[in-house]
């Protein structure tokens, strides 16, 4: 197929650089500078897609982000598949492969189209709900088929090999849109010395100036664009971002820009300088001022069969001719309500093809462009409109009639004008999406027939988006906005003299949101309002008749504006039709809400580099290399990578844990306890602060001693625990749970800063400074004696003391505390020296079979001792007394402490609260399920009251049976009772309620 619609000259394409591409399996050619849409039109491709609901053939209608029909699936490989691409915004590159998103078996012959062509009467809004309503149980089946028939493309089934990233920016002035107003604003702000970001969604900056018929300073407008861009490029604090869509406007002038960095080059990102580059970049911009220079979108006219390929926006026709050197047909009929639309006819005529007629809804059109048309002897039919298009896969003629806009009726007879293209212009809608993203309602301006920004603090609208349509006004508005934005950002704004632009006399436009037909709307041929979602004027009328009068209800019932284009072309017409039918004004009817993103973007662009290995930080202790060497399997605890267990050979997890448990009970094991939070506390009131923070007393803890402490929230519920050592009179070393570390430090700062600022105490996290190696087991003392330079005898170094020593030559603090119930020492050294000490321990420990163990074994060992883990035995609703830890609550402390008051409430004093107990399954082989609910009776009846649940459950090698910790209502009074627990397979297990301390209840093993 040749480029039969390509003009010999003109446009911004490079005819010396032909590009090959493939559309629906057919090889075609275009030129560098084309979009996929312009290349398809150049090749005379009329049908680019099938419509969403009725499967009607559709062609390119617009030239930019507003395109509703030419939505394609892009990608030559499975991994490179991208759905939902607007052909009008996709730059052509060599080797581009695109497919229509709808149409089966293909867009030219579509089976669904049969249904669609019948659907005139049979597929009203709500069709699916109404038709497939019963039986309700069959809906999932119906849905399966309906889904298959609908949709706009598909996701790739392979993962995306490309990378995406984010970049943060701060600027004085962010300007969205690089048309005349945006460029003017950038120049004014840039020359004022402002930090400026100018972004534009198109391949090239310049906006409407790239296809303008007008001159600036006596030269073609595009030359002024080049001059301005060249100057902006020399300003060090001006950043120009083409191919960058401002997609979301968030509070406080935070704007997300989406830059497509490689999508104009290939379907997967090519390397640059031999290195990976991101396919798309999300710029997160914090701007002091935002200038919206987003222009306006042309509204199509709503008439019968206005969706047949060959029906286009007037402005798009001009853009294709003047920017891309493509004329999308041979014979044109233009239907317009305003002067600006005349450009399409003039451009068409000047390109040497036939303009059959200009049909103008106004009775007496006049203005410079009207005069220009008349001077070319183009037929102008006034007071009329195209009321219907003829043709199936391409327009064959336009039905024209005189209309009475006020009376919403056709007057007199109709005439049929043969043509293959109908261009329409129903006026212009300011692109106010970014002014509405934060929820600010737009304001209707009857003089513009459009909504403008409701005014957003820090945001300045300029040019078309502000209703300043003419080039002269748009430039002037842009310069003013740029200078004002710079001044408001605190700079000395310079005044720029606008360039010379000839004034264009324009006649007044009329409002025409739906063209009347000879038949009433409900019976007329389909008049499409929202082409992407197949919403017709009749559908909107029907919706309002069925009671969906609010515009938000109309939207949801008909689908108006629900497409991936968010109804850029159809919304205003649709609202106006709803307003007419409900006999309201447009402002009374109101608008629906625009939401980010302005155009669809890939999820990858939102994720950026926060994926795969960089998704979440992984924290490592200084002993990680040792764990790897010893074959650890790791468990994520918060963000920490902790050794879970250390399998030897082909050992299973169960076997490894049993072996590690026995090693600690019989020999000596080693645990990396470095992840526990550590907080250093200094100050003369440190002790008093601990008294108020912990439930227990700290007044008498001497230097050299350690104590276990329990912390409650102010509601009396346990929040954290750990051992704190008195290093010196005014100096403490606190430990917290691994997960609680940051929260506890915040908690301490909160109370200190807001409640007790008079206490002279400072806290600082030292978690990462220390490595803590726990050696535990009957042989721990022998091992310690070999590596430490102090007397480690029971007399010299008793339980719950700490000592300073050198371990393997490295200064250490050794805490004799135990979480296993065995003789234990926690050796703390500065992290940089940890690997040295660790190696020495394993060297000296070899003869004791020093066994590294992980979190799983730690859990079993502590549970055998009835030691709780915060977050496992507790869930924010458990008091110290519920845990049986009355011994750790100092009601006699002179000053109140956090949680004390709450612990005197009747609810926390109830005796039937859930309390910590042990459960011993009657069948010793059974390991109860964690989370299993406890019932008191074996026979199931309804209701079946539940009395608690299992919090921890393991098999104990030293006990030889399974055992569990549980929270049980009135548990302390139920010792010896038999309770029942269900398991995942439906079977019921009986267990005896016992003390939570299963092993060495007298604590003789660690007191040695």
């Amino acid at each position: 197929m040749s480029q039969r619609n390509r003009l010999g000259t003109g446009g911004r394409i490079d005819r010396t650089r032909p590009l090959s591409f493939n559309f629906n399996g057919v090889s075609l050619q275009g030129f560098a500078g084309d979009t996929l849409a312009s290349a398809l039109l150049a090749n005379g491709v009329d049908v680019v897609n099938r419509s969403f609901k009725y499967a009607r053939p559709r062609g390119v209608m617009a030239a930019g982000a507003d395109e509703p029909n030419a939505i394609v699936q892009l990608g030559s490989t499975e991994a490179g598949q991208v759905p939902n691409v607007r052909a009008t915004q996709q730059a052509l590159y060599n080797g581009l492969v695109a497919k229509s998103t709808n149409g089966w078996p293909n867009v030219d012959r579509d089976v669904m189209g049969l249904l669609g062509s019948l659907g005139g009467q049979f597929m009203p809004p709500g069709f699916y709900y109404k038709t497939f309503m019963t039986p309700a149980s069959a809906w999932p089946k119906y849905e399966q088929y309906i889904r298959k028939a609908a949709g706009l493309g598909r996701s790739p089934v392979e993962s995306d090999p490309d990378i995406y990233d984010h970049m943060n920016h701060h600027c004085d002035v962010l300007i969205v849109g690089a048309g005349p107003s945006g460029l003017a604003a950038a120049l004014a702000a840039g020359r004022s010395g402002a930090r400026v970001i100018l972004c534009d969604e198109q391949e090239e900056m310049g906006g409407s100036l790239l296809d303008s018929r007008e001159s600036i300073d006596g030269s073609p407008a595009a030359e002024w664009v080049a001059t301005v861009l060249a100057e902006l490029a020399t300003l060090p604090d001006v950043l120009l971002l083409a191919r960058t869509t401002a997609n979301g406007y968030h509070d406080h002038n935070f704007v997300t820009l989406h830059e497509r960095r490689t999508e104009h080059l290939a379907d997967l990102a090519p390397q640059a300088n031999g290195r990976r580059q991101s396919r798309a970049r999300m710029h997160k911009v914090r701007a002091k001022r935002v200038v919206l220079a987003t222009g306006a979108l042309e509204r199509p006219l709503v008439y019968g069969r206005n969706d047949v390929p060959g029906n286009m926006l007037a402005g798009a026709v001009s853009t294709f001719i003047r920017r891309y050197g493509v004329i999308p047909g041979k014979t044109l009929v233009l239907s317009t309500t305003n002067d600006h639309g005349y450009r399409a006819a003039l451009d068409w005529h000047d390109a040497g093809r036939t303009v059959v007629a200009i049909v103008d809804a106004r009775d007496k059109p006049d203005g410079d462009l009207v005069a220009a048309a008349r001077s070319r002897n183009i037929r102008v039919i006034s007071g009329s409109a195209v009321i219907e298009a003829q043709g199936k896969k391409r327009v064959t003629s336009a039905v024209v009639a005189a209309i009475d806009i006020e009376g919403f009726r056709v007057m007199g007879s109709t005439q049929e004008l043969g043509c293959d293209t109908i261009a329409s212009s129903g006026g212009y809608s300011p692109v106010i999406h970014l002014a509405a993203h934060t929820g600010r309602r737009p304001v209707w301006r009857e003089d513009l027939f459009g909504f403008v920004s409701g005014g957003v603090p820090g945001q300045i609208a300029a040019g078309g988006v502000n209703g300043r349509w003419s080039l002269r006004d748009a430039l002037e508005d842009g310069f003013e906005a740029g200078a004002r934005a710079a001044a408001e950002a605190g700079l000395n704004a310079v005044t720029v003299t606008p360039p010379a632009v000839a004034a264009v006399r324009e006649g007044k436009a009329v409002a025409l949101y739906e063209v009347p037909h000879t038949k009433p709307t409900m019976r007329a041929p389909k008049q499409f309002v929202d082409q992407q979602n197949d919403v017709t004027a009749a559908g909107i009328e029907l919706a309002t008749r069925e009671g969906f009068e609010s515009i938000e209800h109309v939207k949801r019932y008909t689908g108006l504006g629900f497409g991936t284009d968010q109804g850029k072309l159809g919304n205003i017409n649709g609202m106006a039709i709803a307003a007419r039918v409900t006999k309201q004004t447009i402002p009374e009817t109101g608008t629906t809400v625009f939401r980010p993103n302005y155009t669809p973007i890939a999820f990858g662009a939102i994720a950026g580099r926060h994926c795969d290995e960089l998704f979440d930080p992984r924290r490592y202790t200084a002993l990680h290399a040792s764990h790897l060497e010893r074959g650890a399997k790791f468990e994520e605890v918060g963000q920490w990578m902790r050794p879970w267990y250390f399998p030897r050979g082909t050992e299973s997890m169960h076997d490894a844990v049993q072996r590690e448990c026995r090693a600690v009970r019989e020999g000596v094991g080693m645990l990396d306890a470095s992840t526990l939070g550590k907080i250093e506390i200094q100050g003369k009131d440190a002790r008093e602060f601990l008294n108020r923070l912990y439930t227990n007393a700290w007044t008498k803890l001497e230097p050299g001693k350690c104590r276990y402490g329990l912390m409650c929230k102010d509601d009396g519920m346990v929040m954290d625990d750990g051992v704190t050592a008195c290093l010196a009179e005014n100096h403490f070393h606190m430990t917290t749970t691994t997960g609680g570390a940051a929260g506890v430090l915040d908690w301490m700062e909160l109370w200190h800063q807001t409640e007790w600022p008079e206490l002279e105490v400072y806290f600082n996290s030292t978690t990462d400074n220390w490595v803590a190696m726990t050696i535990t087991g009957p042989k721990a003392r022998k091992l310690l004696a070999e590596v430490a330079d102090i007397d480690v005898s029971a007399e010299a170094f008793p339980y719950m003391d700490w000592r300073e020593a050198k371990v393997a030559g490295v200064p250490a603090r050794i805490f004799r505390i135990s979480f296993t119930g065995e003789l234990s020492y926690e050796i703390n050294v500065q992290a940089n020296y940890a690997m040295h000490v660790c190696k020495a321990l394993f060297e000296k420990g070899a003869k004791y079979d020093l066994t590294p163990y992980g979190t799983e074994t730690m859990h079993v060992l502590r549970a055998e001792k009835g030691f709780v883990i915060i977050g496992q035995e507790t869930d924010g609703s458990v008091t110290p007394e519920d845990l049986g830890m009355q011994w750790c609550v100092g009601y006699k402390k002179p000053y109140s402490w956090i949680g004390r008051r709450a612990l005197s409430r009747p609810d926390t004093r109830r005796t039937d609260r859930k309390q910590l107990v042990g459960l011993k399954p009657l069948d010793p082989k059974v390991v109860l399920q964690e989370g299993a609910q406890i019932v008191l009776e074996k026979e199931i009846k309804i209701p079946m009251p539940m009395y608690g649940h299992v919090t921890s459950s393991y098999f104990s090698p030293v006990l030889g049976h399974g055992f569990a910790l549980a929270l049980l209502k009135g548990g302390s009074e139920r010792m010896g009772q038999t309770v029942y627990l269900s398991s995942g397979d439906g079977s019921l297990h009986a267990a005896e309620v016992v003390s939570p301390v299963f092993y060495d209840p007298k604590g003789t093993r660690h007191h040695v």
Binding site: N168, H169, H170, R275, E804, M835
Partner: protein, 212 residues
């Protein structure tokens, strides 16, 4: 002195010390020399790091710090007090908190000097094992920071000499501008591997050289 337990963490004998990055693998393409690199990454490992807490309004406290460190105490967020020759710096972290960085092994002596010079309500804590310093330099170092943190690194807001504490990717860092195109990042030990890999990943497109 007896109300606080000081601790010299350093062994008297020669012991191999390891930086937090000892376990880190480089998984991106790197250059073999700094020539033409957009970004150079260099770790300044094993330096002495201390946290100083105290009352900025207390004249004696300020004077004492100056005596002990030979540097004025910065009283607001912004310029870092620094003696490049001695390798000593003091940075304001919060209204009552400062970060002191000294050469390797000098943390204990620095603490001792501070305790000698200070009295009343203050605290000194060693965190040398808790953090490390990464230097980022080169024409694209700024872009790497912009890809990693939301703070405004433009010279108008971040002149040479300034230091802040801020978020970096999904962790935190102290960031100081040492030269026009030279930055110091002080990062936590346990997050060091994550941040190192994040920064190298962000640097890759500009050409990155890792100095050893």
């Amino acid at each position: 002195m007896s109300d606080v337990a000081t601790f010299n963490a350093h062994p008297a004998v020669a012991v191999q010390a390891e930086s937090p990055l000892a376990i880190s693998r480089i998984t991106v393409a790197t250059l073999t020399s700094a020539q033409g690199a957009g970004v150079c990454v260099r770790e300044h490992a094993l330096l002495g790091h201390l946290i100083l807490r105290g009352r900025a309004a207390d004249e004696g406290f300020r004077a004492g710090v100056e005596v002990a460190l030979g540097l004025p105490l910065p009283l607001k967020m912004g310029p870092v007090s620094r003696d490049a020759e001695r390798g000593v710096s003091v940075q304001w972290m919060s209204p009552d908190e400062w970060l002191i960085v000294v050469p390797q092994g000098e943390d204990y002596a620095t603490e001792a000097r501070l305790r000698e010079a200070l009295s009343g309500h203050y605290a000194v804590m060693q965190v040398s094992g808790a953090q490390t310093v990464l230097e980022l330099s080169g024409p694209s170092a700024l872009a790497v920071l912009m890809k990693s943190a939301g703070y405004d690194f433009h010279p108008r807001n971040f002149p040479v000499g300034k230091g802040v504490s801020t978020t970096l990717a999904k962790s935190t860092a102290v960031i100081r501008r040492v030269g026009e195109a030279q930055w110091e990042l002080i990062i936590r030990r346990s997050f060091a591997d994550y941040l190192y890999r994040w920064l190298l990943d962000a640097s890759e497109e500009y050409g990155v050289f890792v100095a050893r």
